[in-house]
Amino acid sequence: MTERLTKPLLAVAAPALALVAAFALTSLVLIIAGDPTGEVWSTILTPPEARNVVNVVNAATVYYLSALAVAIGFRMNLFNIGVDGQYRVATFAAAVVAGEAWLPGILGTVLAVLAAVLVGAAWAGIAGVLRASRGVSEVISTIMLNFIATSLVAYSLRRVAVREEGSNIIGTREIPAESRVPGLPLLGEVNGEIYGFVVVAALCGAGYWFLLNRTRFGFDLRATGQSPEAAVASGVNVKRMIVTAMLLSGGVAGLVGLPILLGSAYTYGSTFQSGIGFAGIAIALLGRNHPVGIALGALLFAYLEEQSNPLQILVDVSPDIVKITQGIIVLTVVISYEVVRRYGQRVEQRRVAQALERPEGERAGVTT
């Protein structure tokens, strides 16, 4: 019975510990800076309005996909830092495909999604192949690929872009209305719509869980992540696994920009949101690579950002303070998971020892 209780308790303890520490440290920063700590927190912790909730869910959808992409890599001990580049290249490709309207309506949407997944996978696949064939660290190669992605997209954008009337902003041709993904007015029309893509994100989360925990492929992937040597001895082709995992991670990364592209922006331009891939790394860490944990982490990050918006107006503090909080969360989360993991290990070992002592004493005559 106690064992049933301790496991979930420990799972919750780590992020809780991290959050408390992060809030404490952020408060310290505020105090040192002489900012009104209490007012900052009361602003951030004010219950959000319905339209803010919509914004939070939308932002979280994007973060969720990004963190899932990172988490796939993490489960195999691959550090895909390149989600950022992957989603930008992929979103650009999708924007072109959908904007050119080669296929009508929903078919155009499907084609765009497919293009995004394939391009994202291919971009990440480069790092996978380099790692498998030449032993190049995926950390280095994905960082490099991020830079290349930035330049490549900027260059290509000039080739295909259309300039908006009276503006310097350039973007891809706007996606026709019938190829867009409709939003879900769950909280009333006036409050704005939740991205229809939230469904896709949820499906991805479920698929991620099923793939990793229920399939042979997922087992091989996790085994390789835990111990490449043991995986090899058990018959896993580790090189192929590396490439496959990077392709998968990149494929999901390709989806990251689509909620925005197909749900609100309808064009990929120089102002398209960037940096989502890096937030994804933090959220995957926070969520412990678990699909539900990642969802909570994504919501938390989105919530902090949304609630920090009025800080400047209300209490004259830069909303960037929550960036500090987010950064500290990532640090504290890593530490507190390790602390809790060690504690959990000790608990487990003690439990095993106790369990072994008792029955052996009781059925001494039977076993020997």
């Binding site: 229920r214 399939t215 042979r216 492929f217 997922g218 087992f219 091989d220 996790r222 085994a223 835990q226 111990s227 040597e229 043991a230 090899v232 001895a233 058990s234 018959g235 896993v236 082709n237 290990q345 000790r346 608990v347 487990e348 070992q349 003690r350 439990r351 095993v352 020892a353 106790q354 369990a355 072994l356 052996e360 076993t367």
Partner: protein
Amino acid sequence: MAQAQVAPPGQLAVRLSGIGKQFPGVVANDDVNLEVRRGAIHAIVGENGAGKSTLMKILYGVQKPDSGTIEIDGSRVDLSSPADAISAGVGMVFQHFMLADNLTVLENVVLGAESRHGIGDAARKEVLRICESYGLHVEPDQLVERLGVGERQRVEILKVLYRGAQIVILDEPTAVLVPQEVEELFTNLRELKEEGLAVLFISHKLDEVLSVADEVTVMRRGSTVATVDPADVTARQLAELMVGSELPSPTTEASTVTDEVLLAVSGVSLPTADGRPLLEDISLQIRCGEVLGIAGVEGNGQAELVEAIMGMRPGVTGSVRLGERDLTALSTRARRECGISYIPEDRHRHGLLLDSPLWENRVLGHQTRPPSARGMLIDKTASRRDTERIIEQYDVRTPGPDVLARALSGGNQQKLIVGREMSGKPQVLIAAHPTRGVDVGAQAAIWRHIKDARREGLAVLLISADLDELIGLSDRINVILRGRLVSEFDPSQVTPQQLGSAMTGAGPDAETGR
């Protein structure tokens, strides 16, 4: 000179009283009492998990005891780090050497102890002086990577002496040595003793203990149970003190060897870039119901041979056949599916997922076969049920299949691996050091399972550093030296000494002498 005051022989160097140390869930140390005299070799014997290593770590300051006192040369000390221990005159030679291959002997010795005699001529003089006075033969300017295992061990001892140790602890020093090297080590240890040092020698090879020690302390379940004079006891009596029960032996019964060749390896080579192949033209055949033992000093190609047969090693030439099937082009997974089972040498690295539950470890290596898999999915229910079967049949001591592999003791981990590898009706079993680092009880069980496998008609390839185990279990023994099979012995005729000679290439039977 750091060798401040060498107390007269016979005086107490170390006194441990009532030492206790608790780890969560592990019997570590409980009421340990030990007295070690100067000018004596004191052996500590006990099964794996009896608490020997913990005790030594306490004495070397790696771990702090929960209770009890440590006295060195009559005064009470508080050791909270190896640095404290070194300054109290305690030195430790670990089982796994900690040497930098690309540095010379001298550099390795001085590394980290530069403050004693600098790094120049003074240091060299001191190293030479120590070599001289303790009869340790090593060339100070030789690169460590060129040294053999025995020489490396001497460098480790030298390191400890250079740091001024008066009490030298050796953790299973003979585990990595062949019989001839063991003799050399013992000569060195006797020198140390003559010079008035106290030597603490941990081992579970009882014959060696009896031949070299002046006093023997037996540990069982974390406590010291007896200190005896080696002249008064036999190896068997010692062993019975260790386990507290009757002893198993690895002797096989009547031969079950048939004519049907199951595993045929022919012309297997593994060339390397530097021209010295790791494996050279190895051919062997194992018949149904036969155990072929491979003897060799570690690093002579045993690991590579196993990996070549398992298909884990790229660049291997030659062919591997299982019965009528040619496995040469098949992947590791396909070979396993054909019926080759594999008990890896290093269970933590190759055999287990330590942070996964036991049932997932049951799946490992059987990902594609029932009961682990159903179609493309992992069948958790069936895997758990089958894990429970293994736990039952192979006497794995665990509360259940959901415990993490890490929480089990080494012997129980190994029993789980053996049980797993015997599942799914294998035809060939490749067992690399199957009883390394497991306690006597688990060892007996594993021997029994290998014998059962043989009786059921499996072809078994047994690689072991334990010559008694090889002689006791094998139907034939091949000796591997520098990547080649150099000689074959009949286990009923051969002695460990003869095997040892062949293993080092010194014996008359070896094709390639030095």
